[in-house]
């Protein structure tokens, strides 16, 4: 990295450099964060440093669902209230947070940690697919919900998983596709509109 702050004291320059490595942090933001911490009370800086170390030390992937967790198995996998007949397959841990916010899903999850992207050289072997198949062996799971993103890579991943899961005699479902709340028909693309038509429902 080019030296962005040639005149700053060495420890300051180093912190700026470290911040600059983070996603979405440009040179200016890195300087701002650094000078904020310089002025902040000792405890605040300590807490931040501690939090960063703790995340790296204590957080691992759940051996069952591959979600990030500090207990193994994770809280969701351990929870006896959850419906063990369903697994919802998602791309990233953040997708679990989104689904949990709905409060309408009570089954289990499986995190793939990525998505098939042939042009980037990312294939099924780079995802937690083996782990999913292993987990399904002799389990009580009856339905697998494929909740990858509705874009080209997500669809490719779902199609690929479907081929692997079908022969196991499970119910394999895919999240519905259609119009988002608050959308404009006028701006919808044909693909989305035709899926919305296909998935239309009786008004009750």
């Amino acid at each position: 990295m080019p030296d962005v702050t040639p005149s700053a004291a060495a420890p300051v320059a180093r912190l700026i450099e470290e911040f600059h490595k983070l996603p979405g942090i440009g040179p200016k933001s890195a300087q701002r964060l650094t000078y904020y911490l310089l002025r902040a009370p000792q405890e605040e800086a300590q807490a931040l440093a501690q939090a960063i170390l703790e995340v790296k030390e204590k957080i691992a992937f759940c051996s069952v669902c591959q979600n990030v967790t500090d207990t193994d198995p994770c809280l969701i996998c351990e929870d006896s209230q959850r419906d063990r007949s369903m697994i919802c397959v998602v791309e990233e841990p953040l997708d679990i947070l989104a689904l949990e916010r709905t409060r309408s899903y009570h089954g289990l999850y499986h995190v793939l940690h990525g998505v098939i992207s042939p042009m980037d050289g990312i294939g099924p072997e780079d995802l937690k697919v083996e782990e999913l198949l292993e987990r399904l062996k002799g389990s009580a799971v009856q339905e697998v919900i494929l909740a990858t993103n509705p874009n080209l890579e997500g669809e490719a991943t779902s199609m690929y998983l479907n081929r692997l899961l079908r022969p196991l005699g499970l119910r394999v479902t895919r999240l519905a596709r259609g119009l988002p709340t608050g959308a404009d028909l006028e701006y919808a693309d044909d693909l989305t509109l035709s899926r919305a038509l296909e998935g239309r429902q009786e008004v009750t």
Partner: protein
């Protein structure tokens, strides 16, 4: 001529990558401006008005505004989204391979009308259900022609004598076919059957209709694929990443058997 400040173009979306919180950078292939990258703002939000019109492998009409670094997509309207491609891994994997090749073969801003038409035709053929591998071989050979890398299939690249209908050799490094006396001594030369040479000639100088009239069984299709892929990798000086996925589908028997040959 540099494009004006706000301009409209047709394009095929080759790829996307994430940018910041909710944006993406899309790689567009256009008939007049060649390959260009543009920022599509907010397309990772569910209510984006652009997202569905800028999916990978969509033929779309876009309005672009010149930005400081990258141009910004201000409007987009999909023209064809090749829906059947998206429901079929077998065809999708081929379409991605084609898009990757166009991306790799095209420096940004190079003139591109014919390559654009070739890619569009290829996506249409794949979506229409023509034999996916034949479509792809035709695409590869025609792309090599348009990019100025056509392999020599008429004369021996070693001794320049016309080729005879016997077992010849193909060498990516030498740039084409070698006769039986020049072939064995040349680096990376592999045997090339009479039928494979014939198929490659039709791919190179025929129309797609001519290609469809040739009967190509699976072993012959594999042979031609092997030589062409070696040639493409040699020209690009790197692997074609999407090829690994095609190979994997084949290995796992996920392929529909129909459509592999013709």
């Amino acid at each position: 001529m540099p494009p004006p400040r706000v301009y409209k173009t047709e394009a095929i979306v080759l790829r996307q990558r994430k940018l910041g919180e909710a944006d993406k950078i899309v790689t567009l292939y256009t008939p007049n401006f060649g390959k260009l990258e543009a920022v599509a703002k907010g397309v990772r939000r569910p209510k984006s008005r652009l997202a569905g019109h800028l999916e990978v492998l969509t033929y779309t009409s876009v309005m672009l505004a010149q930005g400081r670094n990258l141009d910004v997509v201000t409007q987009a309207q999909a023209i064809e989204s090749f829906a059947p491609l998206r429901d079929d891994l077998h065809r999708l994997s081929r379409a991605l391979y084609a898009a990757e090749l166009v991306d790799r073969f095209s420096p940004e801003g190079a003139e591109s009308y014919h390559i654009f038409q070739l890619l569009l035709g290829t996506l249409r053929r794949l979506a229409a259900g023509a034999g996916a591998d034949v479509v792809l071989r035709y695409f590869e050979m025609q792309l090599l022609n348009l990019a100025g890398f056509q392999p020599q299939l008429q004369h021996c690249v070693g001794c320049q004598r016309p080729l005879t209908p016997v077992l010849n050799y193909f060498s990516a490094a030498a740039g084409g076919v070698l006769c039986p006396s020049c072939g064995p001594g040349t680096v990376s030369s592999r045997p090339l059957s009479v039928s494979a040479l014939k198929v490659m000639r039709v791919l190179q100088s025929g129309g797609f209709g001519d290609v469809l009239r040739v009967r190509i069984g699976p072993p012959l299709a594999r042979e031609v694929e092997f030589h062409l892929r070696a040639y493409v990798i040699h020209v690009l000086e790197r692997d074609v990443r999407s090829a690994a996925f095609i190979d994997r589908l084949r290995r796992e028997g996920v392929e529909e058997l129909a459509g592999v040959s013709d």
